[in-house]
Symmetry: C2
Subunit: 364 residues, 2 copies
């Protein structure tokens, strides 16, 4: 499969936010549309924890992207008008330097010698990409989920680079419930004997831990209402065929099983650990000792904050709080509460609800 | 430690609801108070998934029970007035026959040769105990959580034995979200290499799987609101002491770690698997092809259904549905919606909210 992926290599030492450094790290990205002559139509998109920079298809890579229905010609983020840049997070495993990359100092993969990753580092990855592309001022920065926290980090650490900010199903920091779930996902991977303190090899991959973590993710990324409507108490067709009385009895169990199998093997387990922990560590209040001070550093002229009523990982009151923080600073801000039943993942699937406010934001 | 535990052995074959049979199974129970001369003051309590029959302290066993603040002299279920019986579930590991018990046919532990367990079997355990005690009519049957589903099974399979029914934080059947979480907990145990298809030995116990399952239970038994109020983003005191960058950073992580350690080792992993699955399999609608028909078989003269607004495992709409089913049958029913923030576990800890309605039910 051909790829539309491009790369920026940062020359020299890349000092990490929590200490340590990377040597000549690479940031992978993709772009759609053209940068205007005035260089004022660029849109920077940060991703959630697991996606690559392939947010949308393109002639070079026609495979559908993770936000295919949002980014494209005539879509809510219209690539006939905007030059859209999506960045693969530093620490991820889809082209950007991460724990699976070779450390040029040792010739060996970093694995768990990779320094502690912060979303401020991921944000700086985006900064390096736009500098490389000659973009001095962004039309907007956009981030859903972890990408929303990264976008906040970007605006705080590099104020003045962006005119507008769109934060979706995200927050100023993780709540204890979300941290507990992510911590448990990390423990599932770390307790897999194949994890071997991060030194797994390809033929003994911590597949069990990754599958368990993925299933917990799938359960909590959606909502109880959606599972109820989709699966109810339907029995799985496979139930009768196995003698194992603990095999999947219900359709919801078979569904999780089939989907966990798809994910596993695509994502580097150590990348997952680093990015998951970075999500828990991030806190706007670390920038100036309070949420108000942190948000006060942001210089965008307008913002939109979108949340979903059924999101249990980044609950709606967190988006309401974020919007109120912008409002307190007399910034132009729109808070949108969407009634989707798909929970935290709604921005990936519930296009009927998400398209109109995103399109309106980009018409602004 | 002395025990107040007593036992009933069922003579001969005990045919299981989903097929198979146990030979001479034992049901453990405890009692408090005295059976009146008219034998009309007995209260039967079924438990949630993990507790023993030790619901309250007594002179013979002064250790606090799992419902210590509810059952006792002058308490909401007043043992000066009522003869209270709590039953250890069949399939559990605190005196009743379960997967860890010796199968008299083979001289070996049942382990996974234990037949599929249903809450109807657990209910029959209660039936055998009250028969043994000479109780022909109960003042009331009570059940929280899985015990509430068992109490419904008891009333459906043995109609006419009880005057009143108190169902707490329970439902007519599991929803897909709760089933998904329980299924994942079971998988965590089954994927632990030490589980060995249920044939673990004491020196290689599936402790990792049990700890992961317990942590997921703890996260989902409470509410995001409670974790937020209790832990916020407090850092763990232990963080700085370890070199492991994935160790517990936040207080919520340290809390889960410490509490999971307490549970593990007390509970037989195979018992957990059987009881967890029995919770998922139970469905009132299996008794007469609809929820209405199932509830229609129940002959109590009054019922109370209590639910908690923050319960994510047995959400409030399930208790509302249950109460409506009783009302539809023109039964005297009271539905109580409690504002506790402790989620599904509130009946164990939020006594200020729970005591008044339970006391009122028993005054009736």
């Amino acid at each position: 499969m051909s790829s539309a992926r491009k790369f920026v290599t940062v020359e020299g030492d890349f000092a990490m936010h929590q200490g340590g450094a990377l040597t000549n790290p690479t940031i992978a990205y993709e772009t759609w549309g053209e940068l205007s002559e005035q260089r004022n139509n660029a849109v920077l998109v940060f991703t959630g924890l697991s996606p690559s920079a392939h947010a949308a298809s393109s002639p070079k890579d026609p495979a559908p992207g993770w936000w295919e229905e949002v980014i494209g010609p005539g879509r809510a983020i219209d690539t006939r008008r905007f030059f859209v840049i999506c960045v693969n997070s530093l620490g991820s495993c889809f082209g950007s330097t991460g724990p699976a990359s070779i450390n040029p100092e040792t010739g060996e993969p970093y694995r768990c010698s990779f320094p502690v990753l912060s979303l401020e580092d991921v944000a700086r990855g985006g900064r390096e990409v736009i500098r490389h592309l000659g973009v001095e001022k962004l039309f907007a920065t956009v981030g859903p989920s972890m990408g929303g926290m990264t976008a906040l980090a970007f605006e705080i650490v590099f104020p003045g680079l962006s005119n507008a900010l769109l934060i979706i199903s995200s927050a100023t920091r993780s709540l204890a419930f979300a941290t507990a779930l992510r911590s448990l996902q990390r423990e599932m991977i770390r307790r897999d004997p194949n994890w071997s303190d991060g030194n797994y090899c390809e033929d003994a991959y911590p597949i069990t831990g990754m599958r368990l973590a993925r299933k917990l993710g799938m359960i909590t990324y959606r909502s109880a209402e959606e599972w109820r409507e989709r699966f109810g108490r339907e029995r799985s067709a496979e139930e009768c065929e196995t003698g194992d009385s603990f095999a999947a009895t219900f359709e919801i169990e078979a569904y999780l099983e089939n989907h966990a199998n798809k994910f596993t093997g695509q994502f580097d387990p150590n990348s997952y650990l680093y990015l998951s922990r970075a999500s828990d560590l991030f806190d706007v209040a670390d920038h100036g000792a309070s949420l108000e001070a942190g948000i006060g550093r942001i210089e965008v002229s307008r913002a939109m904050v979108i949340g979903v009523v059924t999101d249990i990982l980044f609950p709606l009151h967190q988006q309401r709080e974020l919007a109120a923080l912008f409002e307190r600073d007399s910034r132009e801000v729109e808070f949108i509460e969407l009634p989707s039943i798909q929970g935290h993942d709604a921005f990936l699937v519930d296009m009927d609800n998400f398209r109109p406010p995103i399109a309106r934001f980009f018409e602004g």
